[in-house]
């Protein structure tokens, strides 16, 4: 087990390094640089050129990359080319909101999806199963921005029950700000997750040893908890890890519509303004988080359903 985690860690480091290079190359390919982005109709081209030199943007790409990489290895994520402040500050400022949103969504989605999935799985093809399946199918077919636009128009603009944006608001004083964004994020994730749990439950229920156990008279509840749930959870956990992907995609749309100063927005802004250190730094944080989540999911699955192949 330890060598497995070790293997994954080594792979992760390689992945991160390659990713950093890829991101740097991509941003370097974009037209214009951060000095160009500062252009307004008050700074002359000479001032812009001077700024470019000050920011070190006229040095060769390889030198800039190795300089950045060296800094990262000592824990320094560099300074933003646009604001002049540490990239770490930008990371800290933007991670908070996105983290809260994602955690709040997960806190609701996981129990809800598991409950729904087991409910549907244990009553396979029954009326309840078919109804919920139809609803989840329909809901997962609507793009999140459509859901968001409709919810905002209805609950904020027409009815005025919920705040339409996060402008000037603070989660500490006004937690109700979470309701609409989380509702939008819930939509598709709950559908996808519950269907995976349902599939896992059905497979588990049909497994030979479960059928045997039932024949042997093992009580239903113990059956569910001890035997079905762990197996049902495996595809669910894997889907959960993949949910990170959809969630982060949904988060970008949600952040844009509700004016939430989150991670995804900071990343896209960084690209728009060619703030290379910020893009590098945020991508690194994102990749590390994703890798950790995937590793965690694999380890959990391994624990739930030990399989010797994983140890290869």
């Amino acid at each position: 087990m330890r060598s497995y985690a070790g293997q994954r860690a080594a792979l992760a480091v390689v992945q991160l390094a390659v990713l950093s290079i890829l991101v740097f190359v991509l941003t370097a390919l974009l037209p214009g640089d951060a000095a160009d982005m500062r252009f307004t109709e008050t700074l002359t081209p000479e001032q812009i050129a001077q700024l470019r030199a000050q920011l070190g943007l006229d040095r060769p790409a390889l030198e800039r990359f190795t300089h950045w990489f060296g800094n990262v290895l000592t824990g320094d994520l560099g300074t933003s080319l646009i604001s002049g402040g540490p990239v770490l500050d930008i990371v800290k400022a933007s991670v908070g909101a996105t983290l809260v949103l994602t955690l709040a969504t997960l806190a609701i989605v996981v129990p809800l999806a598991v409950a729904l999935g087991i409910l549907m799985g244990t009553r396979e093809n029954g009326r309840l199963d078919r109804t919920i399946t139809s609803i989840t199918l329909a809901l997962s077919a609507i793009p999140d921005f459509v859901i968001a636009v409709v919810l905002v128009a209805l609950f904020s603009l027409k009815l005025g029950w919920l705040p339409a944006t996060w402008v000037g608001g603070s989660l500490l004083t006004n937690p109700v700000l979470l309701v609409l964004p989380v509702a939008v994020l819930l939509g598709r994730t709950v559908c996808l997750l519950s269907r995976q749990v349902r599939a896992g439950t059905i497979n588990a229920l049909h497994a030979d040893y479960v059928v045997q156990a039932r024949r042997l008279g093992v009580p239903r509840r113990r059956l569910l908890l001890r035997h079905v749930l762990p197996n049902a959870a495996v595809p669910g956990v894997q889907e959960l890890a993949r949910t990170g992907d959809t969630l982060l995609g949904g988060v970008l749309v949600v952040e844009a519509i509700f004016a939430i100063p989150g991670f995804a927005t900071a990343l896209v802004d960084g690209v728009e303004t060619r703030d290379v250190p910020v893009v590098q730094g945020l991508t690194l944080v994102l990749a590390v988080a994703a890798l950790l989540i995937n590793l965690g999911a694999d380890l959990v699955c391994n624990r739930l359903v030990p399989r010797t192949e994983l140890l290869r």
Binding site: Q15, A141, P143, F145, V146, V253, L267, V271, T283
Partner: protein, 265 residues
């Protein structure tokens, strides 16, 4: 087993937007440009005074075409990689093909597409390629797994002993065996691709803001929602109709495939 939702309904949900997307640009309606967000005409006007109905006819090509094109490309490239990786005798070839794709896995797709869209603005080709690339790793893995299943079975051994050509075995039999899981996957993949492309266009990062594309329309005409809702609702309904219909059809397919597998047991 009674069908859950009639096949005809699902097919209709898919076909209507599809037909609009394909045939729409061929129909020209002569409508004089009007004032912004006015009711009147079939569905009123949008933020620039253009007739919403005419825009609907023109907007499906990018909305659906980019997504479908991306999925096709993803399957062509990913499928090829997956088949090659699965059918090679040399393990290092397999590793060399698959491992690099893992690098992109940690990155969320919308973010990758957004970055590309910001750089190569208003280029449908760039976005289509980006969406395809983002899907290649998963498709490759899927095809490789299915192909491995088939390639290690007795049928392939038999074919090999009969001196069937490498292509005949791997692209013929194995290729066909892979089609099952591919068909099961393609439904969700197309839906996700439509969402991805639509989200990028919605965020204003992709196509030009005056493009007739359905997702761009939903985004640009949001501010006039209370004045003239059809400018938003019409394209939104077409998008949702397509993805809903596709989801239902894909679900039937999965259901049917699973029953076949169970029946075989």
């Amino acid at each position: 087993m009674r069908a859950r939702i009639p096949l005809a309904l699902s097919a209709l949900l898919v076909l209507i937007p599809l037909l609009v997307a394909i045939l729409g640009p061929l129909i020209t309606i002569d409508v004089k440009p009007g004032l912004p967000y006015e009711k009147g005409g079939l569905l009123g006007t949008d933020g620039l005074g253009r007739d919403v109905f005419s825009l609907l006819l023109a907007g499906g090509r990018t909305a659906l075409g980019m997504a479908l094109g991306a999925v096709v490309i993803a399957y062509l490239i990913g499928g090829l990689i997956g088949l090659l990786a699965a059918s090679t005798r040399h393990r290092w070839v397999d590793e060399a093909l698959i491992r690099p794709l893992d690098v992109l896995l940690p990155l969320p797709s919308l973010l990758v597409i957004s970055v590309v869209a910001v750089g190569w603005r208003a280029s449908p080709l760039a976005i289509t390629l980006a969406v395809a690339m983002v899907n290649v790793p998963t498709v490759a893995r899927l095809v490789r797994a299915a192909a491995l299943d088939a390639a290690s079975g007795p049928v392939v051994e038999a074919l090999r002993m009969q001196r069937e050509s490498w292509i005949g075995i791997h692209l013929g039999y194995v290729g066909r065996a892979v089609l099952g899981p591919v068909a099961a996957d393609i439904g969700t993949r197309i839906t996700l691709a439509v969402f991805l492309v639509a989200s990028v266009n919605f965020l204003g990062l992709g196509l030009s803001p005056t493009a007739p594309d359905w997702a761009v329309s939903v985004s640009r005409n949001r501010e006039g929602l209370l004045l003239q809702p059809w400018a938003v609702l019409a394209p939104a309904l077409l998008l949702v109709s397509f993805t809903l219909g596709f989801n239902l059809l894909a679900d039937r397919l999965v259901h049917r495939t699973r029953r076949l597998v169970e029946a075989k047991r």
